[in-house]
């Protein structure tokens, strides 16, 4: 026996047969839930004049969390009056530097209560704590910090124009990034001197209500921020109210068109941030392993419930096989489970309705002839869950390539040349975002120039920053949020 063989003989059993990470739950007790929440109007929690409440739940367990006031037409009336009063009697007249300091305070308070906000967000929305802790909450604080700095510098933002606030802004936000969408709406509105009535999505009101608490802690003058919880009907009433000067809506394209029709002729200012069906385009010279991370992030971040999700993978045919193989391998390492577990990658779908919609579209994909891949995934019994999914052999005409699924489902198509990639990417009524993966600089710039999308991510995806304007082309909406350009929708000029 050689020395080497002798050594092998002495050595103990080598590899592990399994290595589970063990649950690593984030403590829930930092969150203090009330049994029942009223509407936040004029700086206080008040009972809804409608008298109705509805239950909000944790979508990962279907456990009820709290009773939420459901505002009706009278509550909308009251809110508009309060917001108008706050605008005329205080907020607009306040020195801009003082307005800035309120917003700086709010930014700081969000940072101070960040863990509480992150846990509450995961509880009410179903998204993994890693995302709410590392993305949602820090970005929300950053938005307030960024726009705080603009409040007393507006004259530099628009050369030769004198800016003035519009008045009362009605803001309706979706359930996919409750706190973040709130900050995208409220921060620029307040910085520019407007007052707001914000309607959170009906399934995710809780972080907005905690934000109301933060406004109180910041001593924000009453009526500057009002949080009106309720259902879609109430939202429709709110945006149509004659006392509202500006409407900002983020949500489905269908409802966005509805609002645009309703506001026709009213003179109200409007911005819309609607759906998308983004193409994530991978060329054969891309840094492959990093492109895989980008694709995975693009469609599985927030369970794919993102307007700018990279839901169509357009891969250059010469690299398609190895890329798809790596992608499938990577999917097998995704962890689906308890949103409050720090190791979870994929959380719950936000509602039964959304889950049904995803299921229906996935079924259509199979029927139309696409090939489905889903890694072996144990779905919890309670709650709303969908495994990460890839469809290959997808044709442009299939519903899964045309319609926004808003779930963890990727449709893969191929292309041969840059022109073909552009053609396929632009062949949609949407135009919110796109991804380009190539190591060639000139090609990045050429693709960026050709793509009809409001946000182009090159060699990265799902990057957000308060300084970076975000918004769509075509039916993905109009208006921009973030950056200097994000101020314009909340101002008028003389």
């Amino acid at each position: 026996m050689t020395e080497l063989e002798k050594k092998r003989k002495h050595a103990p059993a080598p590899a592990l047969t399994e290595w589970e990470y063990a649950p690593a739950p984030e403590a829930r007790d930092i969150v203090h839930l009330e049994e029942r929440y009223g509407l936040f109007l004029g700086g206080r929690m008040v009972e809804p004049r409608s008298g109705t409440y509805a239950t909000t739940i944790d979508p990962s367990t279907e456990e009820p969390l709290a009773e939420i006031a459901q505002g009706g037409p009278e509550d909308v009336e009251a809110a508009v009056e309060v917001a108008r009063g706050a605008f005329e009697n205080g907020w607009a007249k306040l020195a801009a530097a003082e307005r800035a300091k309120y917003l700086f305070r709010i930014a700081r308070l969000i940072q101070e209560r960040s863990r509480e906000l992150a846990v509450l967000e995961s509880l009410n929305n179903g998204k993994p704590i890693r995302e709410s802790r590392d993305v949602d909450v820090p970005l929300a604080a950053a938005h307030f910090f960024y726009y705080a700095g603009w409040a007393d510098k507006l004259e530099y933002a628009f050369p030769n124009r004198r800016p003035h606030p519009l008045g009362v802004a009605a803001q309706v936000i979706p359930w996919n990034f409750p706190l973040l969408m709130l900050s995208w709406k409220i921060a620029p509105a307040l910085a520019t001197g407007n007052t707001v009535i914000l309607k959170p999505a009906s399934t995710t009101p809780l972080t907005a209500l905690l934000f109301a608490e933060i406004c109180r802690q910041a001593d924000l003058p009453p009526g500057v921020v009002n949080i009106l919880t309720g259902n879609g009907r109430m939202g429709a009433t709110l945006v149509r109210h004659p006392g509202v000067d500006k409407v900002a809506f983020t949500g489905s394209t269908e409802v966005g068109k509805d609002i645009q029709r309703a506001l026709a002729g009213s003179g109200k200012r409007l911005t819309l941030e609607l759906g998308g069906k983004a193409a994530n385009i991978v060329f054969d010279d891309a840094a492959l392993d990093q492109a895989v991370e980008g694709i995975v992030n693009g469609i599985y971040f927030n369970q794919g419930q993102v307007c700018c999700a990279g839901s169509r993978l357009l891969v250059q045919e010469s690299i398609a096989e190895p890329l798809i193989a790596k992608l499938k391998q990577r999917l097998a390492t995704l962890r689906l489970g308890d949103p409050l577990d720090k190791n979870t990658d994929l959380g719950a779908i936000n509602s039964r309705e959304q889950l049904d919609r995803i299921t229906e579209l996935v079924a259509s994909g199979r029927e139309e002839g696409a090939e489905i891949f889903q890694p072996a995934c144990k779905l919890p019994e309670k709650g709303f869950w969908f495994p990460p999914t890839i469809f290959t052999n997808v044709a442009q005409s299939y519903r899964i390539a045309q319609e926004e699924i808003f779930g963890p489902v990727l449709s893969v198509l191929t292309f041969r040349t840059p022109e073909e990639a552009v053609e396929k990417a632009n062949n949609t009524a949407y135009g919110l975002s796109a991804g380009v993966w190539t190591e060639k600089g000139s090609r990045i710039l050429w693709m960026a120039q050709q793509l009809r999308a409001g946000v182009v991510w090159a060699n990265t995806f799902n990057r957000f920053d308060p300084a970076s304007p975000f918004g769509g082309y075509k039916e993905s909406g109009f208006g921009r949020e973030g950056g200097r350009h994000g101020l314009e929708p909340y101002l008028r000029f003389d």
């Binding site: 000139s442 710039l445 300084a467």
Partner: protein, 265 residues
């Protein structure tokens, strides 16, 4: 029995620490013995500022804004102490608000001062502002706190590191400010404050080959000499005032870089 207070020793602020002046000399100002910095202290301060530049200019604009806002928080906490060494509460509150104002500019400069330029050809062309480097500031004689703050904040907000010469007649506010800076998460060396005789220190900084820009706002009578010395390494020389509050004050300490790249398949 009245209690005997423990008197403060006034030292320099270099590299995030409070060293004694290298020469051991002091001078009398506002009834106190104040450190009299020498050319060697000035040299050390420039070294500290240069060492801190890569980190400060390399930090995100958001981070710089946060740090400057924290400086405002620390100043607010010391407002009473600061008021005691300058003209009073009003000056302190104005200075704090000015710090907040400049803190809010860090992540907006590129959007106002930079541009994407439509050149005649298939090229993507963009211009970005960048900090120039180490900035020497001769602070106005007065107001003691407001003058210093008005002249160092623009340079800091732009990502530069600063060596400032405090008001010669009223230096105590500068040291109080230094204490706020030291507790505000400002990395050591980003802002350095020297107290002493302006006529001794200003020419040293003006002629220093590793200082990129010079603010002569407080250098009455010396301006011509300083500008001439500054020509040795083509310093950017700025004449400002204690009243100014503007993004163009920041721009004075920024370079502009323009980049071209072809657009093609």
């Amino acid at each position: 029995m009245t209690r005997l207070p423990v008197k403060k020793t006034y030292k320099l602020f270099i590299g995030g620490a409070f060293p004694r002046p290298e020469s051991g000399r002091s001078y009398e100002a506002e009834g106190q013995n104040v450190a009299r910095a020498s050319r060697k202290d000035a040299r050390d301060a420039v070294r500290a500022a240069r060492a801190a530049f890569a980190g400060w200019s390399g930090a995100t604009a958001y981070n710089r804004g946060q740090v400057l806002y924290r400086l405002a928080e620390m100043m607010e906490a010391r407002a009473a102490d600061l008021a005691g060494v300058c003209t009073g509460r009003k000056e302190v509150e104005a200075a704090i608000d000015r710090v907040v104002w400049y803190a809010g500019w860090t992540d907006k400069l590129a959007q106002v001062l930079g541009s994407s330029n439509p050149v005649a050809g298939p090229y993507f062309n963009f211009t970005v502002p960048e900090p120039t480097g180490v900035v020497a500031v001769v602070a106005p004689g007065e107001p003691p706190l407001g003058g210093l703050v008005s002249r160092v904040l623009p340079a800091l907000a732009g990502g530069n590191t600063v060596v400032a010469i405090a008001s010669e007649a009223h230096p105590l506010a500068a040291i109080e400010l230094a204490e706020a800076v030291a507790t505000a998460d400002v990395p050591g060396g980003v802002l350095n404050i020297l107290t002493g005789l302006c006529s001794e220190l200003a020419p040293v900084l003006a002629g220093h080959m590793d200082v990129n820009a010079l603010d002569v706002s407080g250098a009455d009578g010396l301006v011509e000499e300083l500008e001439r010395l500054g020509a040795e390494n083509v310093k950017r020389v700025v004449r400002g005032s204690a009243d100014e509050q503007s993004p163009w004050a920041i721009a004075d300490f920024l370079e502009l870089k323009t980049v071209w790249h072809p657009i093609g398949q």
